[in-house]
C-alpha cells in the first residue's frame, strides 16, 4: 500500500540572478518501508525531506504535481491542518539534538508536550506513556532522565530523547534527516538500531536522509541517490554494490575502506554526468 | 567587458577588483532597499546644503534686520524670520554645516576609540577585560546628557567642547558591541591559525579582529547619529553647545521657545530639520544593517 506519493516535486529559491531549483522534479512512492535518500551536500536531499512536511521557509517555494500522504492531499491543506499532521502522523528527526530541544524545558515535559498537542489524555496516562517511551528508546532510569534538562544529557541520549519525542504520538511516517551525523560511531549504531527496531515494530514508513551510502544501505530497503536536485538512481539496498550510474559508483569508490590498500582514492569526475 | 561585469567577475584578477566587487554588491543590495535610499537622499541633501550653503542661502545667517522681525513664512522668507530679523531658512542651511561637523567629529573620535577598547578587552579576556569593561561600565552608568553637561560645564561652553563631551560619552556603547562581537570569534579557528603562524597580538587585533567588528560598528554609529544630533541640539538648547550667533539647530529652537505660541515657525523649522536628518540616519542605518549584518557573512 502506498503511504506517500510524490510526483514532480520542485523546490526553488530566489537569488539575485533568478530562481535556483534545488529539487528538480522528484517523484517517488513510499509504502510502509524504509527508504534511504543519499546525496552530497547541495544535492537537495534535506530539502526533499522538508518539502514533504511543507517546511520550506520563505522565500523558498515548492510545487508538485501530486503530494499525497495516506489519501490526504498535502498541497491543499492549510497551514493549520498541516500542523495537525506534523508530529501526529509524519515526524521528523533532525541532525543535532542540541538545536532541536528546548533548553529551558525538562525532557519529560517536552516529550509530554509532544503527546499532549495531538491527544487529550489524563496526566497520569501521559506520564505513563512518556516513561514507556523513554524505556523504548533504551534510556535506563527514565524517572531520573525525565527531570533533566537537555544540556545535562549526552549527545547520544539527546538524540534518543528526540526520537522518543517524535515517536510518542505514533506517527505513520518518520523522516530522519542525518539523525546520527553529530554522534560518535559507537552511539550512531545504537541510535540507528533503535530507529530501525521501532519502525519495524510499529510498521511505520521511514525516510532516512544521509550522506553515508553504507549506513543507508545497512538500514534501508530501498535507496534513492540524489545529485544536484535530481534522482540519479534508485535501487534495492542489497543491490547497491551493483549500482549502474557512474555517480553512485564514484561515491562508493571514494569512501576509504577499513581494509584500505589503495594508494590513491578514485575521485569523482563530475563532468561525466553533468547535464543528465 | 563592461564595468559591471568586471565588478561582478567570479574570479577577480587583483585584490582591488575583489574588494571593489564586494563593495559594488553591497551598494547594489543597499539600493534595493527603498528606505535606505530615502535615508541616503536626505543625507546627500544635508551634505549638499553644508557644502554649498553660501550659494543656497538667500540671506546671511547672522545678518540682522530688525525691521523684518518675526515674519511668518512667505515667498521672500521661506521659513520666516526670527526675533532679530534673520532668515530662518538661511540659518537652517548654514546649520547643516555645524550638524555635519558634530556628527563627523563624534564618529571619528568615539567609534575608533570604542572599537579598539572593546576589541582589546574581548580578545585578551581575563583581567584586561575586567579593567577595561569596568571603566566602560562607569561611563555607561551615567546618563549621556548629564555626563556631557558635566564635561561642558568643566571645559566651558562652546561647540568644540560640546563635541568632545559627546564623543567621550558615546564610546562606551561601541566598546560593548565590539567586545561582544570579538568574543564570538576570539576562539575561532581562523584566529588560532593566525596565532600559529606567528602573528603578534597587535597584528591579529588590527588586521583580523577589527575588520570583522567594523561593519556592525558602522551600522551602530549610523543609527546613533540621530541620538548624537539630538544630544548636540540638547546642549545647544541648554545654551552649553554652539554659542550665538552660530546657527546651530538646537540653539535656534531654544531661542524660538519664547515665541512658540505666537510665532511657531521660529522653533519649528529647525526642529523639522533635526527630525529629518535623524530620520535619514536611522533609515540608512537600518538599510546598512541588512547589507552588512555579520550573520550574513558578507554574502550579498
Amino acid at each position: 500500500m502506498t503511504l506517500l506519493s510524490v510526483e514532480n516535486l520542485r523546490v526553488s529559491f530566489p537569488t539575485p540572478s533568478g530562481p535556483v531549483e534545488v529539487v528538480k522534479g522528484l517523484s517517488f512512492d513510499l509504502g510502509r518501508e524504509r527508504l534511504g535518500i543519499v546525496g552530497e551536500s547541495g544535492s537537495g536531499k534535506s530539502m526533499t525531506g522538508r518539502a514533504i512536511l511543507r517546511l520550506i521557509r520563505s522565500p523558498g517555494h515548492q510545487i508538485a504535481d501530486k503530494m499525497e500522504f495516506d489519501g490526504i492531499d498535502l498541497q491543499n491543506r492549510s497551514e493549520r491542518q498541516m500542523r495537525q499532521l506534523r508530529g501526529a502522523r509524519i515526524s521528523m528527526v533532525m541532525q543535532d539534538p542540541k538545536f532541536s530541544l528546548n533548553p529551558v524545558m525538562t525532557i519529560g515535559a517536552q516529550i509530554a508536550e509532544a503527546l499532549r498537542v495531538h491527544e487529550k489524555l489524563p496526566r497520569r496516562a501521559v506520564r505513563a506513556r512518556v516513561l514507556e517511551m523513554l524505556e523504548a528508546v533504551r534510556i535506563n532510569d527514565p524517572e531520573r532522565v525525565m527531570k533533566l534538562y537537555p544540556h545535562e544529557v549526552s549527545g547520544g541520549m539527546g538524540q534518543r530523547v528526540m526520537i522518543a519525542m517524535m515517536l510518542i504520538p505514533q506517527p505513520d511516517l518518520l523522516i530522519a534527516d542525518e539523525p546520527t551525523s553529530a554522534l560518535d560511531v559507537s552511539v550512531q549504531a545504537q541510535v540507528l538500531d533503535l530507529i530501525d527496531e521501532l519502525v519495524r515494530e510499529k510498521g511505520m514508513g521511514l525516510i532516512l536522509i544521509s550522506h553515508d551510502l553504507n549506513l543507508v544501505a545497512r538500514y534501508c530497503d530501498r535507496i534513492m541517490v540524489m545529485n544536484a536536485g535530481r534522482v540519479v538512481e534508485t535501487c534495492a539496498a542489497d543491490d547497491l554494490h551493483k549500482a549502474q550510474h557512474p555517480y553512485t559508483q564514484g561515491l562508493l569508490a571514494a569512501v576509504p575502506r577499513m581494509e584500505e590498500t589503495r594508494d590513491e582514492l578514485p575521485v569523482l569526475d563530475r563532468s561525466q554526468w553533468s547535464g543528465t | 567587458m563592461t564595468t559591471r561585469q568586471w565588478l561582478l567577475a567570479d574570479s577577480p584578477s587583483s585584490k582591488l577588483q575583489a574588494n571593489l566587487g564586494r563593495g559594488y554588491r553591497m551598494m547594489h543590495a543597499l539600493l534595493r532597499n527603498p528606505l535606505a535610499v530615502v535615508g541616503m537622499v536626505i543625507l546627500l541633501v544635508l551634505i549638499f546644503a553644508a557644502a554649498f550653503a553660501p550659494w543656497i542661502a538667500p540671506y546671511s545667517p547672522i545678518g540682522q534686520n530688525l525691521g523684518e522681525r518675526l515674519l511668518p513664512p512667505s515667498f521672500e522668507h521661506w521659513m520666516g524670520t526670527d526675533e532679530l530679523g534673520r532668515d530662518i531658512f538661511s540659518r537652517v542651511v548654514y546649520g547643516a554645516r555645524i550638524t555635519l561637523m558634530i556628527v563627523a567629529l563624534v564618529a571619528v573620535i568615539s567609534a575608533p576609540m570604542g572599537l579598539l577598547i572593546g576589541a582589546i578587552a574581548g580578545y585578551f579576556g581575563g583581567w584586561t577585560d575586567r579593567i577595561l569593561m569596568g571603566v566602560t561600565d562607569v561611563f555607561l552608568s551615567m546618563p549621556k546628557l548629564i555626563l556631557a553637561l558635566a564635561f561642558v560645564a568643566a571645559l566651558g561652553p562652546g561647540i568644540e567642547n560640546a563635541i568632545i563631551a559627546i564623543a567621550i560619552t558615546a564610546w562606551p556603547a561601541y566598546a560593548r558591541i565590539a567586545r561582544a562581537e570579538t568574543m564570538t570569534f576570539r576562539n575561532s579557528e581562523f584566529i588560532s591559525a593566525m596565532r600559529l603562524l606567528g602573528a603578534s597580538h597587535a597584528r591579529i587585533i588590527t588586521g583580523h579582529v577589527l575588520p570583522l567588528c567594523t561593519s556592525s560598528m558602522i551600522v551602530r554609529v549610523t543609527l546613533d547619529m540621530a541620538g548624537i544630533i539630538l544630544t548636540a541640539a540638547g546642549l545647544g538648547f541648554l545654551g552649553l553647545g554652539a554659542q550665538p550667533p552660530l546657527p546651530e539647530w538646537g540653539a535656534m529652537i531654544s531661542r524660538g521657545r519664547t515665541f512658540i505660541l505666537d510665532q511657531w515657525w521660529v522653533a519649528t523649522m529647525p526642529g523639522f530639520a533635526i527630525i529629518l536628518v535623524s530620520l535619514g540616519f536611522c533609515f540608512l542605518g537600518d538599510g546598512l544593517r541588512d547589507v552588512l549584518d555579520p550573520k550574513q557573512g558578507g554574502k550579498s
Binding site: - | E189, R195, L212
Partner: protein, 251 residues
C-alpha cells in the same frame, strides 16, 4: 629521528584534567593518527603541541626541541596545523591571496607573488581562485586554502585536526589524496586526529587509540585489516566503525 615526542603529558582545562599521561613518539616522515570518540582528548593533545592549550605538564619535543607552553614565532615555520572546519578556519573578509600572503609578511619572506602561485598549484587550486573571498569557495576549496596556508611557511610537521570530517565523501577523497601526495613530495610528518578508522587506514602508518583521556593502545594501521587489536575498547571501536562484523556483538 623523532619528529614529535610526548612523555607523560597531562593536559587540563581549568580544574578538569582532559588528558592523562600521554606518551608516544612519531618518527620523522611518519604519519601517525590519534583516534577516539568525542571527549577522548585527542584534539586537546594536538592543541597542546601547537601551543593553544597551555595548561600541561610533562615533556613535549618537536623536531628535537622542547616545546614551550605558548605559541611561538619560530615554531611556526617548523610545525603548522590544519583545522577541522573549513568554514571557520578562514577569515570571512579576506581573499585567498591575503590569507596566503599574510604568513609570508609576518616572517619577512620575499618573492610573495611567486610563492602564492606555487602553493596554489601545489594544493590543486586554479589561479582564478586567488582573489576570491571564502564565501565564493566550496568546502573542499576552502580546505585546500587552509592546507596551502599551513604549507606556505614550508613546515616539516603538520598537525591535522579532523581535516576531512566536515566534507562530502567525494571531496574527502580529493583532500586525502592531496594530503598523501604532499607528504610524499615534501617528506612531511603528519600527526592526524580523526574518529574515522578507514581514513587512518588510508593515510597513516600507526595510530594511538584514546579513550577518556588515556591512550589505550598504539597499533599499526594494518591492524585495521584483521582487527588485531589488543585492548577491548579498541576492538569495540573497530567493530562500531563497521570493521569485522563478527565482532559487532561486543558493543
Amino acid at each position: 629521528m623523532t619528529a614529535i615526542s610526548l612523555r607523560n603529558v597531562d593536559i587540563s582545562y581549568g580544574d578538569t584534567k582532559i588528558v592523562h599521561g600521554a606518551t608516544f613518539d612519531v618518527a620523522e616522515g611518519e604519519s601517525f593518527a590519534l583516534v577516539g570518540e568525542s571527549g577522548s582528548g585527542k584534539s586537546t593533545i594536538l592543541k597542546a603541541i601547537a601551543g593553544l592549550a597551555p595548561e600541561w605538564t610533562g615533556d613535549i619535543d618537536v623536531l628535537g626541541q622542547s616545546r614551550g607552553h605558548g605559541v611561538d614565532y619560530r615554531f611556526a615555520s617548523r610545525c603548522q596545523m590544519v583545522f577541522q572546519d573549513p568554514y571557520g578556519s578562514l577569515h570571512p573578509r579576506k581573499t585567498v591571496d591575503s590569507v596566503l600572503t599574510e604568513p609570508l609578511k609576518i616572517h619577512g619572506i620575499g618573492n610573495r607573488d611567486t610563492r602564492v602561485k606555487d602553493i596554489l598549484n601545489a594544493v590543486g587550486l586554479d589561479q582564478r581562485f586567488r582573489f576570491r573571498f571564502p564565501h565564493q569557495l566550496s568546502g573542499g576549496q576552502r580546505q585546500r586554502v587552509a592546507i596551502a596556508r599551513a604549507l606556505i611557511l614550508e613546515p616539516r610537521v603538520m598537525l591535522l585536526d579532523e581535516p576531512t570530517s566536515a566534507l562530502d565523501v567525494s571531496v574527502q577523497a580529493e583532500i586525502l589524496n592531496l594530503l598523501k601526495r604532499l607528504r610524499a613530495e615534501q617528506g612531511l610528518t603528519y600527526l592526524m586526529v580523526t574518529h574515522n578508522l578507514p581514513v587512518v587506514g588510508f593515510m597513516c602508518e600507526r595510530m594511538a587509540i584514546m579513550n577518556k583521556g588515556r591512550i589505550v593502545e598504539i597499533a599499526p594501521s594494518t591492524a585495521l585489516h584483521d582487527g588485531s587489536f589488543g585492548d577491548p575498547y579498541s576492538q569495540s571501536l573497530y567493530a562500531a566503525s563497521g570493521g569485522n562484523p563478527d565482532l559487532k556483538e561486543i558493543v
